[in-house]
């Protein structure tokens, strides 16, 4: 019976695999099994599936140790008894082979029947073949019907457009770091896309434009997620069935599939996250040979991938936290190992600082350097940045301009607010309407360049024309009392104890006086932030505040839009709260003064660190600005793991080509169940251990896999999911997918362990083996079948909606909230 089952399985796998390892005859295995492990089938089965065997090079003594750590696969190089990080010398044989994915060494060396070289060769080839199969299947599903629909889907309109901006070298602004879009642009460039498609709105036809390069690039990275997950699970659990289950879950998940098929940042982000995780796991298993070549390789690769993840989206921070946690606990263990000298620990620490902090930071900065170098033309992103920044962009009116450097009395200037999207200080001939403060001339801020933005700096006490050539040039200094006269209307910037039109707690700002003659309410003290008294004031670079002399308030803009009487420009107020906020800080942009020598603005150009800092500030502010409105439907984090609601990628009506981003419910609900089961099982085991229960060696090995490997994955899931509950910004369903990858890997490990535990608890070995095989197979096949049911979601469908019995999705709308 036992042999029959395994033969059956062998036959089945052999059909799927071109080079299935068939090292040992099933008959021999059966016999041996009875001999060594009564009532404990897993080892053999695993043996059978992985074709595991001992290397002849293993010294006898070590082999003995390894054999004790029986429950095999799980225990890996014997970490059952060691700490998280296997100590030096414990698992020698394994480490020599860490590099290859096939080398998931298992220690169950059978010294008695050592297979020959040929069969070993076969088994290694088999494991390679299995990996190849997984990869192939993943690529096949991701690239199938990649060109459909031939129109812009969902956020392709953003990221495709941004890719084009790189090709056209036009400056733009986005809330995410640049790496992902740069890669998309690069892929498009290499595949012959010329950057001419406009990507205006979802639904636009691509027509002759070559979009396949960009989609193909994203699909390529998306396809790699599956083999990565496979390898991670294999490395953590040393169990092929677990890895296979994970691979199946991800391959057959419609959500991952959909998300990988379009020009989006998510496949790129997930690629880097998984690559970082994989290299971290790999370098963990090199821990017993520190400072060896593979160790350095994986360690620095982790750093590179971290930089990649953070460079695509800021949520890459979560994987950094995970790697950081892993590193800290690793160092803590090393530090507690008294056999290591402090100097050695110091070396470890330095290596990690170099590879995991310095290297990623350098790479991350480098992406920005490339970003700013490539995007050197003025474009739609200019307005978000400061005047000094804009001077860098060719095509902008500040580029290559030359203006006087220091402000002097008589200069004509424009004053720009430092907060994003507020604009220039502005006034015009219209008065504030009746009932709104004093009926004097309006002062607002205005985003566009205009003659009404020009102001003349005058001394507060004389009205003499400072441009009179007989007078010497007098520079404006920090702390001076000045008057600002509006050039077009000759009224002074003025404030007084009247309520501002919209912000009731602030004072009104008006234009007052005739031909420059007003009253003492026109006097302002000009101050440069963080400077000493007496310093001159620089164009562009100085951050200035204007403080009203009489009331002591600060000139600022509330950012609120005035009603129609104010031409929907923004409100300017004088705020009595003296805190330094960007709303009340200004800089001088244009500057005309015939008496002063012009200098090229290049001198004033910000340095690279300043540019870097500024673009981060703008991005963070942009992200915080994405707030949901009350009356809109928004996706809530709790919706995600339950697969409560999908996202429409394309199409609404029954005549459209419809693509709907929704996880395969079977996979997702299995994941959800697995997390609950994992927590339950984990706490039972932890309590049992804490109570001092003695677990049998086999169970001990399994629990180690469950607690250590599973624990890392659970941490990954938590880190990639729970922070979203704290985020104020608008959230979307696709934010969950990195967490979903971790959750699927946890599912793989959990079910494999559960089945092994269950099989172990059964008395009859044949029943146990049968149960294990049937359990794994049914999970695999069930997932595959559910994919067959739900695949139209990802590959697109035309025809009636799901309510209609003729629809391909008829009867599959299991939740009312899904609309496809």
């Amino acid at each position: 019976m036992l042999c029959a089952t395994s033969r059956l399985l062998a036959a089945r796998t052999a059909t799927a695999l071109p080079a299935q390892p068939r090292g040992r005859g099933p008959g021999a295995r059966c016999r041996r099994r009875e001999l060594h492990f009564p009532g404990h089938p897993e080892l053999d089965l695993d043996d059978f599936l992985t074709g595991r065997l001992a290397r002849p090079s293993v010294p006898v003594g070590r082999r003995a140790i390894l054999r004790r750590g029986r429950m095999p696969p799980a225990v890996g190089g014997g970490p059952a008894r060691s700490e998280l990080r296997p100590r030096r010398g414990r698992c020698g044989p394994q480490t020599a082979r860490v590099v290859g994915p096939d080398e998931t060494a298992k220690p169950a060396a059978r010294s008695r029947k050592r297979p020959g070289w040929g069969s070993r060769h076969f088994e290694a080839a088999g494991r390679w073949a299995l990996l190849a199969l997984v990869t192939l299947l993943s690529f096949a599903t991701r690239f199938h019907r990649l060109d459909e629909p031939p129109h812009v889907c969902w956020d392709e309109t953003h990221f495709g457009k941004m890719g084009s901006y790189y090709i056209n070298r036009t400056f733009f602004f986005d809330v995410h770091p640049p790496l992902g879009k740069m890669l998309i642009g690069l892929a498009g460039y290499l595949s012959g896309y010329d950057g001419t498609f406009l990507f205006q709105k979802p639904g636009d036809k691509y027509e002759h434009h070559n979009y396949m390069g960009m989609r193909g690039f994203c699909a390529f990275l998306g396809s790699l997620l599956v083999p990565f997950a496979y390898l991670i699970v294999l490395e953590l659990s040393k169990s092929l069935p677990a890895a296979l289950l994970t691979a199946a879950l991800l391959t057959f998940d419609t959500g991952c599939l959909t998300l990988s098929q379009y020009i989006l940042l998510d496949p790129i982000l997930m690629f880097f996250i998984m690559a970082a995780m994989l290299s971290m796991v790999k370098y963990n298993s090199c821990a017993n040979r520190p400072f060896s070549a593979p160790w350095w390789f994986w360690l620095s690769l982790t750093g590179v991938n971290l930089a990649g993840a953070l460079g695509v989206k800021f949520v890459g921070l979560f994987i950094i936290l995970q790697v950081g946690w892993n590193t800290i606990s690793d160092l803590w263990h090393l530090f507690g190992d008294l056999s290591l000298s402090v100097v050695t620990v110091g070396k470890h620490l330095t290596a990690r600082i170099l590879c995991l902090i310095v290297l990623p930071l350098t790479l991350y900065t480098a992406t920005y350097a490339v970003h700013f170098m490539v995007l050197n033309k003025s474009g739609p992103g200019d307005g978000f940045f400061s005047s000094a920044f804009q001077a860098r962009l060719s095509g902008n009116n500040l580029h290559n301009a030359s203006i006087p450097e220091h402000l002097a009395y008589g200069s004509v200037i424009t004053v720009k607010n430092l907060r994003m999207a507020i604009g220039y200080l502005h006034s015009h001939r219209h008065l504030y309407p009746e009932g709104i403060g004093a009926r004097q001339q309006q002062v607002t801020t205005y985003l566009h360049k205009d003659y009404n933005n020009l102001w003349i700096i005058k001394k507060h006490n004389t009205n003499a024309d400072p441009l009179d050539p007989s007078l010497p040039v007098e520079f404006v200094r920090h702390g001076d009392i000045i008057r600002l006269e509006h050039k077009e209307t000759s009224r002074n910037l003025h404030s007084h104890y009247h309520e501002a039109p919209l912000t009731r707690k602030h004072y009104q700002v008006t234009g007052y006086g005739i031909n420059g003659t007003g009253d003492s309410n026109d006097f302002w003290r000009i101050e440069v932030v963080n400077r000493k008294f007496g310093n001159r004031i620089k164009v562009l670079r100085s951050r200035i505040r204007l403080i009203h002399l009489v009331t002591g308030c600060v000139l600022g803009s509330s950012g609120k839009v005035l009603p129609k009487w104010g031409w929907e420009q923004l409100e300017v107020t004088c705020t009595p709260y003296l805190k330094e906020t960007l709303n009340s800080i200004w800089n001088v942009e244009d500057h005309i003064n015939p008496k002063l020598p012009n200098i090229s603005l290049d001198v004033l150009q910000p340095s690279f660190p300043e540019v870097l800092l500024e673009s981060h500030m703008v991005m963070i502010r942009g992200n915080n600005g994405l707030k949901p409105k009350d009356n809109e439907f928004t996706s809530k984090p709790w919706h995600w793991p339950v697969n409560y609601q999908g996202l429409r990628f394309s199409g609404i009506n029954d005549t459209d080509f419809r693509v709907y981003l929704l996880g395969n419910p079977v996979v997702w609900w299995l994941n959800l169940l697995s997390i609950a089961l994992y927590l339950l099982l984990g706490s039972i085991i932890a309590v049992a251990v804490q109570r001092g229960a003695h677990l049998p060696a086999e169970v001990e090995g399994l629990t180690q896999v469950l607690l250590r490997g599973g624990g890392q994955l659970l941490l990954g899931w938590i880190l990639h999911y729970f922070p979203f509950f704290l985020m104020g910004r608008i959230l979307y369903f696709h934010h969950y997918f990195p967490a979903m990858l971790f959750s699927s890997m946890l599912t793989g490990i959990l079910w494999d362990t559960l089945l092994r535990l269950w099989a172990w608890s059964l008395a009859s070995s044949s029943l146990a083996r049968g149960l294990y095989v049937v359990g794994n197979l049914s999970l695999l096949l069930g997932t595959a079948y559910s994919f067959y049911l739900f695949h139209p979601l990802a590959y697109g469908m035309v025809g009636p909606l799901a309510q209609d019995p003729r629809s391909p999705m008829a009867g599959l709308r299991w939740l009312e909230s899904w609309d496809f």
Binding site: W332, Q645, L726
Partner: protein, 725 residues
């Protein structure tokens, strides 16, 4: 059994005179001239109005915290015989004679005073010397900010009291765990921990951080207990169950109890009603209940109803229509259907009435017997005053161009046929044949032709729409959202056939009688939800500050200024204590890391018991500081210096811990130790001196001259008020 006959009954009193003295000093410092500024001081203006609401039994909603704190303040008012008649509108307003200022301020002052001896107790329970414990209490005693905050009708001192009580009782409990588990005192302290935690949460939500800290410490201790092999499985289970009951069940029950008392105290309708759902409003006395009392429950064909949006944001409003039509062309050049406007109107109005009509019949009155409308039925809605049908069609809405316009159909525009059939979707139905119920049913109106859903978009229409709110047909309704859900608020069975009579009928009030009530749990859940989602007006405040300013005391708050002299009350900390407490926290952290690293290398600097004491003290004091401080960085509301006081209290407790540790373990010779002791005395006198200097600003009892005030302005950012004469 009858032991008392054989032996004399003896009561041994064990009085720690230190505690008595500390309590007395605490009371003196907090209660002295308690009713002195007989005027509204700072946030009293805010809490005072809630006290008045309690006195008048009027329902209110305050998103800033659960009701227990407010109730405690109101208790003071109740005991002082306050009738609630005072207009809390201005800081600095003189209290009228009916306001019992002393008793209103008594409770916060008492809790503030008791915090002083509690600091002593906590340090002794932590196993530190009597000297260190005295030090902690004396520091609490002369902390100006704590005194100021305790002497007014504010809640921070109450919160601090319950925080400390929770920590103290947990320590007492865990100390008695070692000797006599399951003894009465063990149970007492365990339960008191839970009760104190729930009280802290009940006063302010931030109390939850201390609760979590205590839970975490209890969790770690319980985990050690599980690992204790000398205990049987059953006794471990008993231990765990007792803890779970006292630390999880009791607080939850207490929290519910606060709301129960709150809801039974404030049963009258008041100014905040509008925020609540119709059902909640109807459960209050007066207000909506007076109108809806006795309405027929089941909506029938021919019913006259008003429909209220369930979300009610930005303002609660009712479905409304009026004679005016949509402008032919909008300002941006788009066209409209030019039919009658349908809006959402935030005031009661006769134009809010709609008649539910059966599409198959012409009658607009209720038949006898009434035919109830059920889930899934198709209905028409007729506007009562204009007799036009609620309609939507494929025309972009005025402000939300992605949604459909909703109008009352006018038949002059023949190119646009009427599409006025709506399917009723009762969201909270019991069964698929559920009947549409007044107030209780939440319904969605789904348009039959286009399957658009009637929705409040939240945008204000321009002047042509009288600034009312826009109502649209949402085509892409992704699942449930409260803005698409409506409920019937006012309801009566229509009787008049003729339009003229009907208009008269619509103008007359509805009257009939049945009584409805919501269960406590439903009311609690709704109230709690509204409190948590209530938006604080994120307006900036002159004295708001950021958490970074707090540690260095870079900010102050002017609480009150005497109307004539320059006597004033300021929230200002004792600079010496703040600085040294922060230093102590840094020192503790560094030392802890140092010891941890050395222990990892198997070098133990401290004996095991003093190491454990050091760690536990750090977990509770430094941990208490961290959990009460760090979360503020993530909060988006307006923050003030007084939010730091709970964290500061824990930091003050940490100070003597660090000092004693330095003296015991780092001063190696007797000489050094004596020197250190002398230094401490000097330092404490310095703190006393600062306390004394700032005292006029703490109590506000002495008018200082401008030059003296200027001399007190030690930091530029302190906003001490100086009168210009």
């Amino acid at each position: 059994m009858l032991g008392f006959l054989k032996h004399p009954v003896v009561v041994t009193a064990d009085i720690n005179l230190n505690v008595v003295a500390l309590t007395a000093m605490g009371l003196l410092s907090r209660l002295w001239q308690l009713s002195y500024p007989r005027a509204v001081v700072f946030d009293e203006v805010y809490y005072g109005q809630y006290i008045s609401f309690y006195m008048k039994r009027i329902f209110f909603l305050d998103g800033s915290g659960p009701p227990f704190g407010h109730m405690l303040l109101a208790l003071g008012g109740y005991l002082g015989g306050f009738d609630g008649n005072f207009l809390w509108n201005r800081i600095g307003a003189e209290y009228s004679s009916n306001v019992p200022v002393w008793s209103l301020r008594l409770l916060p002052a008492l809790t503030g005073a008791l915090s002083v001896p509690m600091a002593y107790q906590i340090l002794s329970e932590l196993g530190f010397s009597h000297c260190a414990a005295m030090g902690a209490a004396l520091l609490m005693l002369i902390e100006n900010a704590l005194i100021t905050q305790s002497r007014l009708m504010l809640l921070e001192s109450v919160l601090i009291f319950f925080n400390l009580l929770a920590v103290l009782s947990y320590l007492k409990f865990s100390n008695s765990q070692k000797q006599r588990p399951f003894s009465p005192s063990w149970w007492f302290w365990l339960t008191l921990t839970g009760v104190a935690c729930s009280c802290a949460v009940g006063v302010k939500y931030v109390g939850v951080f201390t609760y979590l800290l205590v839970l975490a410490v209890a969790g770690v201790h319980a985990w050690h207990l599980i690992g204790d092999r000398s205990l049987s499985n059953v006794s471990v289970l008993c231990h765990l169950l007792a803890r779970a009951a006292a630390l999880l069940v009791v607080p939850a029950a207490m929290y519910l109890l606060f709301f129960y008392v709150h809801l039974s105290l404030v049963y009258r309708s008041g100014p905040h009603d509008q925020i609540m759902s119709s059902a909640f409003q109807a459960s209050l006395e007066g207000g909506l209940a007076r109108i809806t009392q006795g309405q027929p429950l089941e909506v029938a064909y021919g019913s006259q109803v008003t429909l209220k949006n369930v979300l009610g944001k930005p303002v609660p409003c009712w479905l409304h229509s009026h004679q005016s039509t949509y402008p032919m062309i909008y300002e941006n050049g788009r066209g409209s259907s030019h039919q009658q406007q349908v809006t959402c109107y935030p005031f009661k109005d006769v134009n809010n009435w709609w008649i539910v009509k059966d599409p198959g019949r012409h009658q607009l009155v209720v038949s006898n017997p009434p035919r109830p409308v059920r889930h899934g039925d198709v209905v028409q809605l007729v506007h009562g005053m204009t007799t036009r049908f609620l309609n939507t069609h494929d025309v972009a809405a005025p402000l939300s161009p992605h949604s459909q316009e909703v109008s009352c159909y006018v038949d002059y525009n023949i190119s646009m046929p009427s599409q006025n059939l709506w399917r009723l979707d009762i969201v909270n139905r019991d069964s698929d044949a559920g009947v549409w119920k007044t107030i209780l049913s939440e319904v969605r109106l789904v348009h039959v032709n286009t399957s658009a859903v009637l929705k409040l978009s939240g945008a204000h229409l321009p002047d042509w729409g009288f600034r009312q709110l826009e109502v649209v047909g949402e085509k892409l309704s992704r699942g449930y959202h409260e803005s698409t859900v409506w409920n019937v608020e006012e309801h009566r069975y229509g009787k008049s056939q003729e339009q003229k009579e009907r208009e008269v009928e619509l103008h007359s009030p509805t009257q009939m009688d049945v009584h409805r009530n919501l269960s406590f749990l439903a009311r609690f859940l709704e109230l709690q939800w509204r409190m948590l989602t209530a938006k604080s007006d994120g307006s900036e405040h002159k004295y708001s500050s950021s958490p970074l300013d707090w540690v260095t005391l870079d900010t102050s708050i002017a609480y009150w200024l005497h109307p004539r002299t320059s006597a004033q009350i300021h929230l200002l900390g004792n600079v010496v204590i703040w600085a040294s407490a922060s230093l102590a926290t840094v020192a503790y952290t560094l030392l802890l890391f140092w010891y941890l690293l050395r222990r990892r290398r198997k070098i133990c600097d401290l004996p095991e018991d003093s190491w454990l004491r050091w760690v536990l003290a750090g977990a509770l004091c430094a941990g208490g500081w961290a959990v009460n401080y760090v979360p503020f960085f993530l909060m988006e509301k307006t923050l003030f210096l007084y939010h730091y006081l709970p964290a500061l209290t824990f930091q003050i407790l940490l100070l003597p811990v660090v000092l004693q540790h330095i003296s015991d373990h780092l001063c190696r010779t007797q000489l050094l130790r004596s020197l250190f002791g002398a230094l401490l005395v000097a330092w404490y006198s310095c703190a006393c001196h600062v306390f004394n200097t700032l005292r006029p600003l703490t109590y506000g009892d002495k008018s200082l001259s401008p030059s003296e005030l200027k001399a007190l302005r030690w930091k530029d950012s302190w906003d001490i008020l100086i009168r210009k004469y």
